[in-house]
Every structure is written in C-alpha cells, then in structure tokens.
Symmetry: C2
Subunit: 326 residues, 2 copies
C-alpha cells in the first residue's frame, strides 16, 4: 500500500493531505522534503495536483434543490472537456426557460451538445441552447458571442453567468527560451488573455448592473496561475495574467461576483497533450504516472465542485479557489 501523505506548497505555507485531512505547517518550511514513497513518488511540480483519494462530492446530493435562477449562461470552449460538462451541469441548475450560449471554434460538436440538451428534461422544460461557432482569438469571434447573448436575453432573466473556459495549452514541446516568434506569442495571448478580457468587458457592458439582476463571471484558472511549471511557459503566463485581470475586476465592481476557479487535473484532451507533448521529462512523467494511477479527476467531479461554489455563493469575489479547497 503506497504512502498517501503528500506535501503541497501553497504560497509559503506547507500543506499535506493525510487521509481526508489537510495538515498545515507554519510558514517558511518550503525547503522540507516531499514524503511520497517508492514508485508512487510524483514530481514536486505536481504534488499539489495529485491526490490518491477520490473527492467527496459533499452537499451536492440529488435532493439539493438550490438553483442559479433564470439564467443566461455563456460558456466558452463548450464543445468538449470541462466546458461541455459545465454546460450540462449548468443546465440542471438553472430555472426553466434559462438560456445557454455555447461557444467553440467548430460547430459540429456544439450542435450535438445542443441536441442532447434539447432532449434532456431541462430541454423539454424550456431550456434554450444557442450555438456560436467563433474563434475567440479574433475580435469578430468575441463580437458574435456578445451579439448572440444580447439576442437571447429577455427581461425576466435574473442571472448573467459568463464562464471563461476556452484556453489552449500552448506549445509545451519547447522551453521558454525557444519562444522568439512574436506572432506566435501574440496569437497565444490574444486567445487566452485578450479575448477573455474583451468578452468579459463586453458582456458586462451589454448587461449592466440593475436591481434584481445578478452577475457572475468565472475564470477557469489553474494551479499554473500560481506556480511555474517547466516547459509550460505560455500556459502559466496566460493563467497568471487572467487571475490578476479578474482580481482587478473584482476590486472595481463590488456588485459583481468574480471567481477564479482552478478545476484540478482533469481527464481531458488537454491532459493527453500534457502527457504526450510536455518536453520536460520530469513533468511529462508526472502526468503519465498520474494518469496511469487513476489520479486525475473527471470533468463531472470538478464541475460538481464549481456548482457547489456557485450555489453556496460564499467565496470572496476575485479569489483563486482550488478544487481541493472546496
């Protein structure tokens, strides 16, 4: 039986998971050694993200009747992975005649999701799902999402939710010193940072504050927003930029609910990319081991935690919240 005691650095506070408990050390112990045993030792880069125990999905039983109101919910990157699951989970938590605006680059996968939602219990109860095939790296893509959202809005919608989920990993087959091409870096930042800011700003302008209207903006963040990962320079840079952008927004707009949610290591296409293309051998092995040992999470597990956060509505606006802290 492998040891399940793992060390986590978080800011300057040492943190371990032992069984179901977190154990905290005093600040300033960051030089302490990782306590993973034998073959199950995971690289320190990932020790934060790896947990042997399944996450208990507490307070999210099927009898939980809380909802997100009659919502207009925009989800980017909705065709697959976390975004697709988020669309399903959101649909179950919104009141009848809510609207989902599903955004992705290609329309085919979106339309199959749209069909699935139409046939669901919520679809039959009047849920509307709109597909927007858009490249968010381009201004026109962002504009088409805003236009579709405005068209679908009606006066008795009482909650606007924007899930900024779309993201790309960047080329992890190279180290930072290889990024000499400005067009490549600009293109990455346009999709992962600028579009996220401009879509959020446009949606806030399109649906300004008014009595009775709740507004929630979610940034799908990552541990990479806080911690450098070798050969993941673009991804870490983009995620750190986004976290800060939403922190500023939260400071500026006290009526708005802003959440930087870090969904954990998920069993998605991005993880496949991470496992197969990451050039740093230690980090690549960690992803491979994590996957082989069944330590990744399903999108459903992570989405359940996001739903809990949204329904509890007790997080501090602007905070970075990790799935393992929910």
């Amino acid at each position: 039986m492998p040891c399940v005691l793992m060390r986590v650095n978080w800011c300057e506070t040492g943190r371990w998971r032992q069984g179901n408990k977190w154990i905290y050390s005093a600040a300033g112990t960051s030089e302490e050694e990782s306590f993973l045993s034998g073959e199950n030792r995971i690289a320190p880069e990932l020790s934060d993200t790896v947990h042997k125990l399944p996450l208990p999905l507490r307070n999210m039983s099927s009898t939980d009747s809380r909802d997100l109101g009659r919502a207009l919910c925009i989800i980017t990157g909705a065709s697959r992975g976390f975004g697709r699951t988020a669309a399903r989970e959101m649909s179950r938590r919104m009141k009848p005649r809510s609207v989902l605006v599903l955004v992705a680059r290609t329309g085919d996968d979106l339309r199959s999701l749209q069909a699935e939602l139409a046939e669901s219990e919520e679809g039959r109860a009047g849920l509307v799902a709109e597909c927007v095939a858009a490249d968010l790296g381009q201004a026109e893509g962002v504009e088409s999402v805003v236009r579709a959202s405005k068209e679908r809005f009606c006066q008795d919608i009482d909650h606007i939710i924007l899930v900024n989920n779309a993201a790309s990993l960047g080329d992890v087959s190279r180290y930072t010193k290889s990024f000499t091409n400005m067009a490549e870096v600009n293109s990455y930042l346009s999709l992962n940072v600028s579009s996220c800011l401009c879509l959020t700003a446009s949606i806030l302008q399109a649906f300004p504050q008014r009595p009775g209207l709740r507004r929630t903006v979610i940034n799908i963040s990552s541990l990479c927003a806080l911690k450098p990962f070798r050969s993941w320079g673009l991804y870490c840079t983009g995620k750190a930029a986004r976290d800060m952008m939403f922190k500023v927004l939260a400071e500026e707009e006290p009526d708005l609910r802003v959440l930087n949610y870090s969904p954990g290591p998920l069993d998605t296409d991005m993880l496949t990319e991470a496992r197969t293309r990451t050039v740093d051998p230690t980090l690549r092995k960690s992803f491979t081991d994590m996957f082989a040992q069944g330590q990744v999470l399903t999108c459903e597990q992570s989405c359940a935690k996001l739903m809990k956060l949204l329904l509890d509505d007790s997080y501090t606006s602007g905070d970075h919240v990790d799935i393992y802290d929910v």
Copy 2:
C-alpha cells in the same frame, strides 16, 4: 508630527514599518485597519508602497569595489526614468570596455545619454554605448536589438545582462469593463509581455551557456504583479504575466540568474501619468498625496538597491524582490 506607523499587506501576512523596523503579524489579519493618522492617511491600495523614511543605501558606499565583470548589458526603455538611471549605474559597475545596448522608441534622448556616457570616466576608460531606436511592440524592433547586441559582443565579455525595463502603464483613465477593443489589448500585451519574452529568448539563444559566461535576466516588475490596483487592469495583468514568465524561465534554466525586481514608487513620468490620469479617485488621491508628501523614491535610490542585489548575487533565481526587502 504625523504617525509613521503604516500597515502593509503582503500575501496574507500583515507587515508594518515602524521606525526602521518591519513588524509582522500572523497570517489572516488582512481585515485589520490602517494606522495612518489624519491628513497623512494613504489609501490601503498604496500602503505597501508608501514609506515616510528614506531608504538607507547600505553596503553601497563609494568604496565598494565590486563589479559586474566585463559585461554586455542591454537595457530597454533606456531613454528616461528608471532605465536611463540604470544605464548610468550599470556603466559604473562594469569593467572597462564593457558594452551597453540602450533601447528606446525614439533615438534623440538615447543619443544624449550616449554622449553623456562617452564623456564620463567610464566612457573615457573604454565603455561602449550603442543606441537602438526600436519599437519593441513589433517583431522588427526586437530583432534589431538582438542584431545590435550580437554585433557588439566579443569573446572576452564574461557577463550578459538583460534589463527588461520598457513598459507602458496602459490607459488608466478607464476601468477594466471598458476594455472591449481586442486590438488595444493585444497591442498592450505585445509591448509589455510578448516582446519581453521574445527578446529574452532571443538573447539567451544568441548568447548560449558556456563556461566563464554569466547570464543575468532582470524583469522590472511592480507591486502590481502581486496585488490588484483599481483602474490599472492592463498594467497589473501585464506585470503578473511577466513575473510568472520569468519564474518559469528560472525553473527551466538553472544556470541563469533571473530577478523579478519591484523598484518601488518612483518619481518618473509614469508617476505623473498615475497622478493625473488614474480614474479611480481613491487610488489617484493616494498617488497625489504620496507625491505631495515626498514619499516617492528617486530612480537613483531604487537603482542602488538593484545594484546591491546584482553585486551580492544572493537572491533566489526567479523570486520577486521588492525594493523594501533589499
């Protein structure tokens, strides 16, 4: 006599400066009140950056004979402010026949600095200062800096130093929700993030690791890399992105020295812009008060601390180091 007790938040640890001492509180006290008295009360946003007492420039006496070697030092944004002062200070700490590559958008101010350096003691001893008028927001600008640096390199140079100082404040006359124009945001990120990455990567490729060659990369950072400032969304986002980018680089390149240096509130054109254009009234007043009360630092004070860091060479590569921690 105003009270000189000021509270500072740093991560989750409360920190005060009282007289010459820092006083630390336990983590989790971030709700405590600021202890600034009467008319000298500074907004919490800036409490970190405001200090009544002059910084002692310890260990940097005129008899300090340490140097940076025979260096090739590239400084972006060298025409004015911190970059211009850094050029002067660097020139005094480099061995004879070192090279400075001075970069800015317009050449006139660079040439006057070049003339000043040529007439200085170091200039007469063989210091070479090369001007590169370049727009770093464009790929061609970055390429011209790399080309000039390669042309000036010779085999007995033993230290490559890159000071990534060039930056713009962004439009602080508007809040985050006004940034709906992707071209504007992309342009900001190109100058402040992409160019910084691509210049650094290109310089590292142009001057690869070899025995006897030290390599140091400095990112001129800011408190804004760590803390959100209302109406400074672009600046905070860019600075957070840069800090993370250099943290990844430090992890990847153990032979490289990487420093994220936060130079403090400086008496520069950027502060004038901050005082006159910041839309958030509390933050604007803080800058105005800080300036009126003589609480800003000169570029010379801040550069002296940077020199101390470089000469001591004991910082942890990749760390964010604030001037008040030197």
